[in-house]
């Protein structure tokens, strides 16, 4: 099958209940190969939960397939960039150690980290402009630098479906530009990018597709057709004062 013809990720009727709260209510979406999608929606819309359910990190009902098969079989091709706040940044590891964690599947349980693997991790760091920080302890980094290290870890994994949870939350402008540059070049190389995103003003500039989520799918498709006032009002409620055409 030709690249682009097959969906990189297909989600059907994803439903998840936390005790009495419905976090996801039959959300469905299709992410074509080589596309770059923003998942947007109000707080509590289940955006992070959507990513975690897709990855099988939380057990949700519904069908998820990646590259035409079950997700569990193609996890090596899927990279996940969690929210920065998900880890303890005072943990005693260096930047290069974190990036090498992305090579875990390649080295295996006992595999030694050889020079080739270190060079591979250094190249991933260089792509996000962090090569000079390799030997720093991660606690010494700024928020933006931490986010770039997380992205480098995903790059080291060499995946072609990348799920990011709020990669631009609390980062500086330089980091935001560096990250979006890397993501776009990955997309141009055929990878599929899906990111939970908060800043509605940058959706059109950064992404080519959008998934509007509010526990269920409100709208999905190309930014031009989907990122409309009507759909936004449906997802966020009529109080939102933002004109996507502006």
């Amino acid at each position: 099958m030709q690249a682009g013809a097959e969906a990189a990720l297909q989600v059907q009727g994803l439903t998840l209940r936390y005790n009495d709260v419905l976090a996801l209510d039959g959300a469905s979406a299709t992410f074509p190969s080589g596309s770059m999608t923003a998942i947007i929606g109000p707080n509590g819309a289940g955006k992070s939960t959507f990513l975690k359910s897709v990855l099988g990190l939380v057990e949700a009902e519904g069908q998820v397939s990646a590259f035409g098969g079950p997700v569990a079989k193609v996890m090596a091709r899927i990279a996940y960039v969690p929210q920065r706040a998900a880890v303890d940044w005072s943990f005693p590891v260096r930047v290069i150690d974190v990036v090498l964690m992305g090579c875990y599947r390649k080295t295996g349980l006992l595999g030694r980290i050889d020079r080739r693997m270190t060079a591979h991790a250094m190249a991933a760091l260089a792509r996000v402009g962090m090569q000079d920080f390799a030997r720093r302890q991660i606690g010494a980094l700024s928020g933006g630098q931490q986010q770039r290290v997380f992205l480098a870890r995903a790059l080291a994994q060499g995946a072609d479906l990348i799920l990011l949870d709020e990669p631009f939350a609390g980062v500086d402008a330089a980091t935001e530009a560096a990250i979006i540059g890397v993501l776009k070049s990955l997309r141009d190389g055929g990878a599929t990018i899906i990111a939970v995103h908060h800043d509605l003003s940058t959706v059109a500039a950064y992404f080519d597709r959008v998934l509007l989520l509010n526990r269920r799918t409100v709208a999905e498709g190309a930014v031009a057709e989907t990122f409309t006032r009507t759909a936004l009002a449906q997802a966020y409620g009529p109080a939102l004062i933002l004109d996507p055409a502006a």
Binding site: L55, L57, V87, D88, P92, Y104, Q137
Partner: protein, 289 residues
């Protein structure tokens, strides 16, 4: 010299081995914010040991060790159960379970005739390090702790990469196919094993101290995990040796006619090392500003 070889060296080596066995899982308990588990495990072994003795009438280390491990396993299950059913945080669940289990052990000890075989509350707290001397043959604790410390070191070497990954970022680790739940259970089991082995030789106070103090001290002074582990092992052994010597000889040096509990003194030394490291680390942080 002979006196030192037969009377002092074996307990010093045993204290060091117990410290090593505890420090290995202790570093990861600390980093995964489960330090309380060490506290729990070293308390719950008491009722296990007492029940094993009451059931079999045997005072052998293997029987008591099995009882202690069973109690540790039961407690781990109870902690999970209390956490889920009562909906309280794991630290509180551990505190509830281990204090209850330890109290049960104390009641069992006091109401049954077990004190004749080195089973009493004092030994549970301080162990009987001073009595582990070379009497014609090596004390059995020496071999047991050597095997357990070596086994834990080997196991740690084998799972080092996935364990570090699962401790730092369990969610990402899961996406990499790391068996996070198994590693977590394995760390609990390793903690139980170290706590049981150490408890029999050195008592619960020293076990708790060794599970956490050297790792916490090293954490303040190092930046990478291999360095933290190495430094914590160094501190553990140093406090075992220094504490033992201080307990046995320091009162005599200043003319007092008694000796102190070796376990208590070793725990005190490791606590003082932690305090010193905290002072150094805060000085450094101030200098860096």
């Amino acid at each position: 010299m002979d006196e030192f070889l037969y009377l002092s060296l074996p307990p010093m080596v045993i204290a060091s081995l117990a410290a090593i066995a505890c420090v290995l899982p202790g570093n990861f308990l600390l980093l995964s914010r489960r330090a309380m588990l060490g506290d729990a495990m070293s308390h719950v072994v008491l009722p296990g040991i007492v029940v094993a003795f009451l059931l079999t009438g045997s005072g052998s280390g293997v029987v008591m060790g099995a009882g202690a491990l069973a109690a540790a396993g039961l407690s781990a299950v109870m902690i999970e159960w209390v956490t889920r059913r009562a909906g309280i945080e794991p630290g509180a669940a551990m505190a509830v379970v281990f204090t209850t289990m330890f109290a049960l052990g104390v009641v069992l000890l006091e109401t049954t005739g077990t004190s004749g075989v080195h089973l009493d509350v004092e030994h549970a707290l301080y162990g009987n390090l001073e009595s582990l001397i070379w009497l014609g043959s090596a004390p059995p604790e020496l071999l047991r702790l050597t095997l357990i410390a070596a086994g834990l070191a080997l196991a740690l070497r084998l799972v080092w990469r996935p364990l570090v990954l699962a401790t730092f970022d369990p969610v990402f680790a899961q996406t990499q196919g790391v068996p996070v739940a198994w590693l977590r259970a394995g760390l609990t089991a390793a903690t139980a094993l170290a706590a049981v082995a150490a408890f029999q030789a050195v008592g619960s106070i020293l076990t708790i101290a060794m599970l956490i103090c050297p790792a916490a001290t090293a954490r303040l002074l190092t930046r990478t995990l291999p360095a933290q582990l190495a430094v914590s092992l160094g501190f553990a052994i140093a406090s075992a040796l220094l504490g033992y010597v201080l307990a046995g000889y320091a009162p005599l040096w200043i003319g007092l006619p008694f000796t102190l509990s070796a376990s208590g003194m070793i725990a005190t030394v490791s606590g003082l090392m932690l305090a010193a490291a905290a002072l150094i680390a805060s000085q450094r942080a101030r200098a860096a500003l």
